[in-house]
Symmetry: C2
Subunit: 265 residues, 2 copies
């Protein structure tokens, strides 16, 4: 199977059109409720472009500001190297549609396989049943506009309150995730997947959430297999909420952690 | 007392030198161990410049990439409005010394006093004794190169392990903070203060930490008085660690939350 046969790779593909400039097509295959492309997916397109110009292989710290809605259709990504260092290099990507910037990304790149140093973990991995015993969150339901659920599979220990029409008041969730088409996770897709699950503010009776800023730290190359995830919101105020997301790989290593500030509708 | 009489305001002051460009002087009055200016303080200089050009008053989400060390001495800050919106406007600031960019800041601004919506808090504020009964972390010690400790006062329930030469292995701390000269907190200074305390990795026997990326979310205008803070690191790997910082004001409201990825020496 060639990489481009996987939906994530095909749909984040960029083509060089000029020095540091790339053409992309935002597809409608990663839409969330409301019919708009998932922000993490659009971020993935920018990171694909950045990996083409950065002198180091791995995204390490990524910050994305969502300036305007990005729509399915053609887009252009302009990139720039901000600083090229020995251990860390920093770059910038700007995604444009119809001449308007919709997403501004700044990212530090490194070589995580060459990173020295000890590992200290002071948190427990998600306490999920094995994926084979967990419940498919979507079940038999097909929500046509929620096309991201056709690309990503979600499994949970028990159906969340919001999915039963009974928001629990506890905006947190542990879940398994993987690509439905068998594509294994890598650093680039982790940076998208941190934004791929339902926002836990659904448990507060909210109906959705629009990301203002998303920061992702990539901590280690993930092993193949299911990803164990934990997502939580602790503070809602003034119409904004933060959301923290962790991804642990199939060997039990923490591989990505993100935080976003988002706006309630 | 005029604002410029307070150290934070005097030392983050910027002067317009051209359209969207400002001159600043990085002082040596906010140095950390190693004799370098604190990253949060340098970020404060960039935010002072941004507040001069943004059409909305309050920093809401701030991301800073530390590209090179910033040294005491003259600096220039270039700013740009990335997107001007009704509810949120986003800007960029770049700090230069000797023609080299040392700090890249992207920030979404809003008007937090006009922000509608409910408040939901699913976390406890720090469990500290009243400031009057807490211990001055610095005590009678003066560490000449640690000039930030002459600007910011830290009080704790008990002296941390690292300060007694016995790192506890638990990289977390609750503490009170305030400016020593009586300057009250505001959103701008909160964005600096999230980086003003000792890094909790000292409790793992580490000797310091250099920020790669720092994100701050400003959640509400702080009331005057002491700030109750909580800082923790949960994951160390490959020579990097994350650090999460919360600031609660004297009325018990969460006012700022930050996260940074930093490099161990």
């Amino acid at each position: 199977v060639s990489a481009a046969a996987y939906a994530f790779d095909a749909d984040t593909r960029v083509e060089a059109v000029a020095d540091h400039r790339f053409a992309a097509v935002i597809t409608d295959r990663w839409n969330v409720l409301g019919g708009r492309p998932n922000g993490g997916y659009v971020l993935g397109v920018c990171l694909q472009a950045l990996t083409r110009v950065m002198p180091l292989p791995d995204p390490l710290a990524v910050s994305a500001f969502f300036l305007r809605p990005t729509e399915p259709g053609p887009a252009e990504v302009g990139t720039a190297i901000v600083r090229s260092g020995r251990r860390i290099s920093t770059g910038e990507a700007r995604l444009y549609q119809d001449g308007k910037e919709t997403l501004r990304v700044t990212a530090a790149f490194s070589d995580l396989r060459a990173a020295p140093g000890r590992t200290v973990v002071l948190a427990e991995k998600p306490a999920l049943p094995p994926p084979q015993q967990a419940i498919d969150l979507m079940g038999d339901r097909v929500i046509p506009e929620l096309t991201i659920a056709q690309r990503v599979e979600y499994r949970v220990a028990a159906r969340p309150g919001w999915a039963r029409g009974e928001p629990s008041g506890r905006p947190r969730q542990e879940l398994w995730m993987r690509f439905r088409d068998g594509r294994e996770p890598d650093l680039l897709s982790l940076a998208s997947l941190v934004d791929a699950a339902a926002p836990p503010v659904l448990e507060l009776g909210e109906t959705g959430s629009a990301t203002v800023e998303l920061t992702v730290y990539l901590r280690a190359h993930p092993a193949p297999g299911w990803l164990a995830c934990r997502v939580a919101t602790r503070f809602v105020s003034g119409g904004y909420h933060e959301e923290v997301f962790e991804i642990w790989d199939s060997t039990g290593a923490l591989v990505a952690q993100s935080r976003q500030l988002a706006l309630l509708p």
